[in-house]
């Protein structure tokens, strides 16, 4: 297999193991490119890519934009907060207006699950989902699995605990799909109010006791409490959440295991993770960010192979 089956990357659910491995192999090559004095290749110089963000983002947007520039693509950025969306323009109209200006690929983040799927059915340009509501965030899951593979040798057979706000997390769902396809065991841990009721159908373990989860896992992927998505109270206070589910050095020291710590960012230091853990030698949080550029270069490069000039 030398290219991806679809013109779009909307989620991990429909990616095959071969496709994930192809993305990883290609990312390996781009990591080498990123270590050169001139960190740029001309592969996408004929493409224009629009980053269409209807939600806030620091890492993902920056990472995509850097990846696009490293691939020599022309880049336009769109942010809903300063656009005509505020004047009532529909999603499809906005996208079509961007496309008639000859844009070849769209990287989209949207608060509504399924928004990139809707767009991809209506346009010819490639669509990359950069996070749709609480649904999927495929490039984050790919870079997470890629970083586990890089730092621990392989993903197969590893035990990964995803800890925190699972209900509101798109990272969790994409990670479950990606890790399971690569042969890892997945456990979800958090207060039962933050774990979706039917998630066990995805063949994952569920644990409410963080100590037990940490004793079980090789890698802990700690998620942020997404207060911006919580209309109801899911736990009494951040302080209480931190007391029961916050990961700190004392808790890790009480466990007789060497656990790799991950976090997709942004970190709420002192809430879900303490500074002494986030900055410890077991933390691969900044490796995740670094690998994000190579993974996104690989995804855009491979999707571009499906486009004829």
């Amino acid at each position: 297999m030398n290219k991806l089956k679809s013109k779009d990357l909307l989620g991990i659910k429909n990616l095959s193991l071969e496709e994930i491995n192809l993305i990883f192999e290609t990312a390996d090559k781009f990591k080498e490119v990123l270590s050169r004095p001139i960190k740029k290749v001309p592969s996408l110089r004929h493409l224009t890519i629009a980053n269409v963000f209807f939600e806030n983002s620091t890492r993902t947007k920056l990472s995509f934009e850097l990846a696009q520039k490293r691939l020599s693509a022309d880049v336009v950025n769109f942010s809903s907060s300063v656009s005509s969306v505020k004047k009532g323009e529909s999603l499809l109209d906005t996208i079509n207006n961007i496309l008639v200006m000859k844009v070849d690929m769209i990287v989209m983040r949207h608060p509504n699950p399924g928004a990139p799927h809707f767009i991809s059915k209506n346009i010819d340009a490639s669509v990359i989902n950069a996070g749709d509501g609480t649904h999927e965030h495929p490039t984050q899951a790919l870079l997470d699995s890629y970083t586990i593979r890089e730092k621990t040798g392989k993903v197969k057979g590893k035990r990964i605990a995803i800890i925190g706000d699972i209900t509101h997390s798109r990272v969790a769902l994409s990670n479950i799909y990606s890790l399971q396809k690569l042969g890892a065991e997945v456990m979800l841990c958090g207060p039962s109010t933050l774990i979706p009721k039917h998630i066990k159908n995805l063949n994952v373990k569920v644990e409410n006791d963080i100590k037990k989860a940490l004793e079980w896992c090789d890698v802990a992927n700690v998620l942020r409490i997404q207060l911006e998505r919580q209309k109801n109270k899911f736990f009494p206070s951040l302080r209480e959440y931190s007391l029961y589910y916050g990961i700190n050095k004392r808790l890790l020291d009480s466990i007789n295991r060497n656990i790799t710590i991950m976090h997709p960012g942004p970190i709420n230091r002192g809430v879900e993770i303490s500074s002494d853990v986030a900055d410890s030698k077991n933390s691969i949080i900044l490796d995740q960010v670094e690998n994000g550029v190579a993974i996104r270069m690989a995804v855009m490069y491979l999707l571009s192979l499906n486009k004829n000039r």
Binding site: K29, V33, R36, V41, L305
Partner: protein, 179 residues
């Protein structure tokens, strides 16, 4: 029907590689400021053979690297899609004399993309090209080899088949064929 004739057998290949090594030494003396860069995939086999020969003759190790040109190609969407391969150039080429090594020179497009790739590792003082087979009169781009094993006249439908023991073949053979 396929017409097939042999350009190189093992003996002739060994003699040619030895001759190319001496041509390189004539120009680059002790290789103090010269690096060799083989192009993926088959240029690497010739790089290894040339390097081994030069190491033996000069009694020292010469800096070498390998380059995959996939990301620099201008035709990677219009042809059979290549899978990117490894690039390993563990040095800067600033002010170095670079010898690009490949098996066959045909349209010149691979060499063009290789030159673009090499410039990402610095500004070389000089770039030369060594190929085993030069297919004359078939260039799309004005690229000519500095060192060449054999020059042959071909038509577009001709194919050069490089079969080396490194690729799993029983013995070294390089063929020219036409269907």
């Amino acid at each position: 029907m396929t017409n097939k004739s042999r350009l190189f057998n093992k003996k002739r290949l060994d003699i040619t590689i030895n001759r190319l090594c001496h041509q390189l030494i004539e120009k680059h003396k002790n290789f103090e400021n010269t690096v060799l860069i083989g192009l993926q995939p088959r240029g690497i086999y010739f790089l290894n053979r040339i390097e081994k020969n030069l190491n033996r003759i000069l009694g020292k190790k010469i800096d070498s690297g390998i380059l995959d040109t996939t990301f620099y190609r201008d035709d990677f969407r219009s042809k059979e899609i290549p899978k990117a391969k490894e690039t390993l150039i563990p040095f800067l080429v600033d002010e170095k004399e670079v010898v690009i090594i490949d098996d066959v020179l045909f349209t010149g497009r691979t060499v063009r993309s290789a030159m673009e790739g090499i410039m990402n590792f610095g500004r070389p003082k000089k770039v030369e090209l060594l190929v085993l087979v030069d297919r004359k009169y078939s260039r799309d781009i004005p690229v000519e080899p500095t060192y060449c094993g054999i020059k042959i006249n071909t038509i577009t439908s001709d194919r050069i088949e490089v079969n080396l023991v490194e690729q799993g073949f029983k013995e070294d053979n390089i063929w020219i064929s036409n269907e």
